[in-house]
Amino acid sequence: MTISTLSFQMNAVNQMDALQTAMSKTQTQLSTGKQIQTAADNPVGMSQVVQLNTQLSASQQYVTNGTLATTGLNLESQALTDATNTLQSARSLIVEANNGALNASQRQAIATQLTQMQQQLVSIGNRQDGQGNYLFSGYAAGTQPFAQNGTAVSYQGANQVNQVQLSADQSISTGDTGSSVFMNIPAGNGTFTTAAASGNTGTASVGNGTLTNPSAWVPGNYTITFGTGNTYQITNSAGASVSSGTYSPDAGGAFSISFNGAQLSFNGKPAVNDQFTVDAAGSASVFSTIAGAISALTSPTLNAAQVTTQLNGMLQQMDGALNNFNQVSASVGARLNAVATASSSAQSTQTDLQTTISKISDTNYAAATTQLSTEELALQAAQASYASMMQLTLFKYI
């Protein structure tokens, strides 16, 4: 077969061109560290890398979300601890005040302390984060949640809190509303509250009562009226009699009355026509509880038994409030845990993603370097052989 001189030259040049192109490609892979420069190099690989990068970026954002949520939750956790401490001090004071041995001025002193503690709680409830957003006002981040007017405190925040995403399918609340933490605490024992009527003249005080048979309980408001000879009658809000009977006090003067699955403990001797009320439990705020204690302690008209009844009720509500603080704290702790777990799992996901991205898109230096030297060798050989073959011509010998 004859090879034309021109095609011999052209072929040699084409081969060298091809080798140079290949070397330039390998060199680009080495210098950029990426084996995929554009989608055309590896459409599937490139779209995977882009998707993985998107996931990586989203995952980093989720960690950021979690970090921001942590800041708020830590502040809330601290506020709850402070509120718990304050409320516990208030509770000790009320226990102390519930001791009948105190005189009016001593009770007044305790009431003054309680007033300060109520203010302290209000200011805890009105705490702000670093950006000036109120911790406990929910959606209404710029609205001071608690407004105080005398001893009455009202909630002005919103009833919903923000959720943030910790992952595509996990969200947590970034806080709790003031209404759920401070305001809507189940009053009394959670089912009903007890109170002594203001006109009572006897020495009997009533405890908080317990629900011994919840299925027998008929929600409603009831009045217990004592008659002569240890008799009593219980009427509902419509005035209809629900139950009646006689009570039998023990040696210490204590007795109990049961109706509709509820059991009430009394202490002391009720006068005829003394009345006690059993009301369906609404919700009470921690502020109104303290305010109730203050008003009981400073009331000029209440007798000792009435004060004791009221303070008993307040103590129970305080326990409810402390319990509520505790539950919210536990929930905040659980959320902080969720953030920590999500963030550590996100970090390991990110490492995996980066490894995968690197596997798909990064240059394998060992392979690429070997390839480059192979191509270099081939190009050198091509150049050398071309130069030497170009020497071979018959014309040299003519």
Partner: protein
Amino acid sequence: MADLLSTSVSGLLAFQQALDVTSNNIANASTPGYSVETANLTPSPGQFTGSGYVGSGVMVQSITRAYNAQLTQQVRSSQSSYSSYNSLATQAQQIDNMLSDSTTGLSASLQSFVNALQSVSSSPTSTSARQAMLSQGTALAQQLQTYDSQIGQYSAQLESQIGTDVNQINTLASNIATLNQQIAAATASGQTPNQLLDQRGTLVDKLSQYIGVQTLPQANGSEDIYIGNGQALVSGAVAQPLTTIPGAYDPTQLNIGIQNGAGVTDITSSMTGGELGGLLSARNQVINPTQNALGRISVAVATLVNQQQQSGLTLNGTPGQPMFTVGGVQVLPNSGNTGSATVSVSRGSLSQLTTDNYTLQYTAGAWKLTDQTTGQAVSTTGSGTGASPLTGAGLSITITGTPAANDSYLIEPTAGASGGLTMQLTSPAQIAAASRAQATAGAANTGTATISSVGVTNPTSYAGNSYTVTFGAAGAYTVTSGTSTPPGATVATGTYASGQPIEFANQQLTLTGTPAAGDTFIVQPNSTANTGDNSNMLAMINGLSAKNLDGGSTSVNDAATNLLSQVGVVTQAAQNNAAAQQSVNQAATTARSNATGVNLDQQASDVLRYQQAYQAMAQVISISNQMFTSLIQAVG
């Protein structure tokens, strides 16, 4: 003696001519397209003598060039294929480079925007987070706009390249026609004009770079050139010039026409091969589809974000305004339309919106919508009036005026979208992070149901009234208007399922848990004080991440990734095909060159051969002289 001399002289002349041919071959050893020529020696006719015919020497009967029609055809067809793929690859590579960046590409920008939304949802009152969201939104809009204008530039370059190619083809065709004429004239003399043939062959080779060609040799030596589906570009001494015709719908997109007796025929669809074929493929396979796909992404982002913006409240407590404007549907009437109809088109359902273009034609008294990419008819409903718009393919089409029969319109649902994508909001406060509706659980609720989300689903019809959702037995619920007792008019009823939205009055409430009978939830306009509400922002994030396109199978991010991989696949295929065709072309060129090119060693040996023959002839003359001298001496 005289015979001896004349024979020798014939040899001298013949070998001289053969050496001329050889030296011409050597001179053209590096000339592309040169075919090696051979002096065909033939004995001169013999002279009759009594003892028989005595030869009278040698003569060069003809000088012929080496030619191989089959290999030449292979070179040209592989050249056409290579040029076509190479030009497609070059065009596609531009788009591929533009879109391919795993860290700054479109997917990354989309994710950065979503991340900015996440930051706002984490800190709804933070002005800096809101400002960052505006900046990322602006950056995203600018990126899509930049892509659009870059594609516009590539498209303009491509159209101008089409014009240049057509001119180049016309010049080559006209030169080939002229050569045909000269060749025909020269061939009439009985000898083949080798140099003219080589010249024409080179021109046809060159023509095959621009367009796929077929050649048909004629008896008179001329060669007819056909392109496309057999349209004669050159026939004998006549070249039929190609022209560019502005597209009937879009005059900026050029079509290819060929002049014939009656006028100009549009032969765009049959233009394959060569650079011109590659450019037309690039326009149909890469440039236009990419512009449409980017446009659909712009539409999706703008629609999803704007709708959610309008479902929310800004930091100032006012309903949100659309964040982005986006270019509308482009309707291009056919330049041949004779009726007076005006067609206006708006986009309907996002999930039905495609990246295809459509033609709308008025035939037999009815409008017919056809998908240009698939060629399939699209089923439509409605009559096209304002009250009953023609709907189909996610479009809503209204026609006013009177169309003439066969009037047609090109509808580009997304092509113009990215170009008009701009950020409308100027102040961070205008971001609507809060929902326009809020829900509150009744204070006396005893069930475990809690509010999971509440939102406005149709912001344009949302009236901002209050409603009460009251549960009865077994999860049955009644929605009544107002919050007072006794309840107002019933708006909706249904049966509750945990996590399933309760929809009424252009809003929806989602609860989780189990409500007890008698539990109530109040849904009412959100308080303007709820500046920390991020629920609308969460809904916006979900909307952008959800699979809202292609009938609910593709998210915005999927669309961006799909586009990238589609462009990558087209580019890679074009590059691979170009490389393959380049090898085929090189192999064919080598084969042809080996068959018809100059081998210098061969020529060197020819030089030696003819030189020796010449020297031998000269020696014969010398011998003849000696013979003559010895005869004179003998006689003298």
